[in-house]
């Protein structure tokens, strides 16, 4: 009987363990080993930290690395600032059909692929695009305006892509806040700002942090949006990884870059949790 139960447990766990080991654990270990390899001759390798040293000694790599981090943090903050009022409206003010309709509107853009969505932005923002034409039509601009291929365009794309992942956790946590508690906040003399600061935000903190983590990770690891909307000066770290692997065929350096990105995102998420006094269990559970 006991051995049967044990067998059952093993059978149940097998798909999960296969998934974890084959798709996550083994590739990562392999990638880590590759990143520690230095090519000394044809088919000859030795273990060294040379790839990581290259990263430190090359200003372009380091610069892109930090720029990607700062831009991702900025994109996360902008997403939060836009998503919070939207989520508050959906969760607390809208009722019944309006509520589900608004929620659906946030979801609709995700029915098409990210590639198509990004092309949509290109149609809007390019020199011959809708906005440029509109500005000329209204007489606000003399000639065609190019709004693509800069950091602002990347930011717009990143925020747009991440919106849903911020709205969902926020709506969920805000909905769990009883209206009574908000009313009590007002009843006892609070104004809108103090109720927001002392009651709504502390209650929504786990949702805010989990939304921020997801959005930050998505922005940091985004490849498509920065490549398509960014210009020659707006290099994203994922582009460097891509070029090492595919263009330069330098897997060793690419793997090192990949691990640096993993380390960076882990560090920033950890810092974010420490800063807000939240724990991963609380925000993800």
């Amino acid at each position: 009987m006991r051995s049967e139960a044990k067998l059952g447990l093993i059978l149940l766990l097998t798909p999960l363990l296969l998934w974890l080991s084959l798709l996550i654990f083994i590739p990562h270990v392999d990638m880590f080993l590759v990143s520690l390899r230095e090519r000394v001759g044809v088919g000859e390798y030795k273990i060294s930290l040379a790839n990581y040293l290259t990263f430190i000694n090359e200003p372009l790599y380091l610069h892109t690395f930090l720029r990607t981090a700062v831009m991702s943090i900025l994109a996360t903050m902008i997403t939060l600032l836009i998503a919070f009022p939207v989520s508050y409206y959906i969760a607390k003010i809208a009722r019944g059909r309006t509520q589900s309709a608004l929620f659906l509107l946030c979801l609709v853009p995700f029915w098409v692929s990210e590639l198509v969505r990004t092309f949509g932005w290109m149609i809007l923002l390019r020199e011959t695009g809708l906005i440029s034409n509109l500005l000329q039509f209204l007489g606000l601009a003399d000639g065609p305006v190019e709004m693509l291929y800069n950091d602002a365009a990347i930011m717009v794309g990143l925020v747009y892509t991440s919106m849903l992942f911020m709205v969902v956790p926020l709506v969920t946590t805000l909905e769990s806040l009883p209206d009574e508690v908000i009313e009590a906040g007002y009843d006892l003399g609070g104004n809108g700002l103090s109720v927001l600061r002392e009651i709504v935000i502390p209650h929504a903190a786990p949702g805010i942090v989990s939304g921020c983590i997801v959005v930050f990770m998505l922005s940091l690891g985004n490849y498509l949006t920065p490549t398509m909307l960014g210009g020659k000066d707006s290099l994203w770290f994922t582009e460097l990884i891509y070029s090492q692997f595919i263009v330069r065929f330098n897997w060793e350096l690419g793997a090192a870059f990949g691990f640096l990105l993993l380390g960076l995102s882990s560090l920033i998420v950890w810092g974010m949790l420490k800063l807000t006094g939240q724990s991963l269990e609380k925000t993800m559970g």
Partner: protein, 366 residues
């Protein structure tokens, strides 16, 4: 001297439905006023209008003689204890109680002192650092009241705060609430659908039905001298007979019930005349029970019946009597003397009551 709270012709409509229909009342300073009514009668709507969360469609609300209609909820000198208490789960107890004082800009040491005092007052000293979730239902209740009382409101509104408690605790909190009201010497406006809460605690009670006040008075008034059939049926238990009036003389009347029994009752000054449809209400404790008719000779209503069932409930035990005419069950209180402990299902009993105990009202819709 103005009354603490005065509502004048308060009306609130939601679309086509009138939730509160032209209600006026005054609550004198320092009194315990209850609004009693079934759910959906509009009592919560009144409460939310007083607190400022709802705007009246028409009418005015005065607190200490000043209209507060244009004052937002956070500026009104009223505070509310919510149905589910609405303590702030993200703060500890001391911060919960100190919240209003912080908003009012009171200095930190002053807040600490007042919070301490309030905790002493509610008999829970030293729990300031605890989390909301660590308290029992009764303790939360008291904290919710203390959180309002530190602000020294003119009027404290309580929205069925005992609803979520279990029966034993509810009984104890009734007494405690009354004591707290006396200790803080503040006007309490309490809404409930539980008549015993209202009767035990209140100085005055308003019985509300379908957006209107049926009667305002002390607990005794409502219980012994109900003004309307609704109050007679809603406050306390009552046996009810419908029928047609045969004769009215002065305060006395005679009615033939639909099942054919001739019954005497009292009109208590209500305008009723022979031929009208009417309802007679008789309280179970007003009905005397006896083994023989002679014992009941002085009562003008006498019925012979069979015990249908015995509802044992300690001091509040009752029997259901099926009268010989078969007009339905009559609830009768069982005396505690033990004299009728031998009754069993099917025994024949005599019951009777004096006509003055039969409260007669014109039937609804007539």
């Amino acid at each position: 001297m103005y009354p603490d709270l005065e509502c004048m012709n308060l009306t609130r409509r939601f679309g086509d439905t009138v939730a509160v229909d032209d209600v006026s009342f005054t609550v004198p300073a320092g009194s315990f006023f209850s609004i009693l009514g079934p759910s959906g009668c509009g009592k919560t709507t009144i409460m939310r209008m007083i607190a400022g969360f709802l705007e009246p469609s028409s009418g005015d609300i005065h607190i200490r003689g000043r209209s507060v209609i244009d004052t937002p909820p956070n500026k009104r000198p009223v505070n509310m204890v919510f149905q589910h208490l609405a303590l702030f789960p993200m703060m500890n107890i001391a911060d919960n109680i100190g919240y209003g004082l912080r908003r009012a800009g009171v200095s930190k040491p002053e807040i600490e002192k007042k919070v301490e005092e309030a905790l002493d007052r509610i008999g829970l000293p030293g729990i300031g650092a605890r989390k909301v979730g660590e308290l029992s239902g009764g303790q939360k209740q008291r904290v919710a009241i203390a959180r309002c009382m530190v602000l020294e409101p003119e009027v404290l509104l309580l929205d069925e705060p005992l609803g979520a408690l279990d029966l034993k605790l509810r009984e104890r909190m009734k007494v405690e609430l009354k004591a707290l009201q006396a200790a803080f010497d503040t006007t309490f406006v309490y809404i409930t659908h539980d008549q015993s809460e209202a009767l035990v605690m209140s100085d005055r009670i308003a019985v509300m039905n379908e957006g209107r006040f049926e009667q305002v008075g002390s607990g005794q008034d409502l219980y012994y001298r109900p003004d309307t059939a609704f109050v007679a049926g809603f406050v306390g238990d009552a046996n009810r007979w419908s029928g047609r009036i045969e004769r009215v003389s002065g305060d006395e009347m005679e009615m033939r019930t639909d099942s054919g029994i001739l019954m005497r009752g009292a009109t208590h000054g209500r305008a009723l005349s022979a031929g009208d449809r009417a309802d007679v209400f008789v309280r179970p404790e007003a009905i005397r029970i006896a083994h023989s008719t002679e014992e009941l000779a002085h009562f003008d209503n006498r019925i012979t019946g069979k015990v249908e069932s015995i509802l044992f409930n300690g001091a509040a035990s009752r029997i259901l009597v099926q009268d010989s005419a078969g007009s339905g069950e009559i609830e009768v209180n069982l005396p505690q003397s033990g004299e009728f402990s031998g009754l069993s299902r099917g025994s024949e009993v005599q019951i009777g009551w004096s006509g003055a105990q039969g409260n007669c009202f014109a039937a609804e819709g007539s």
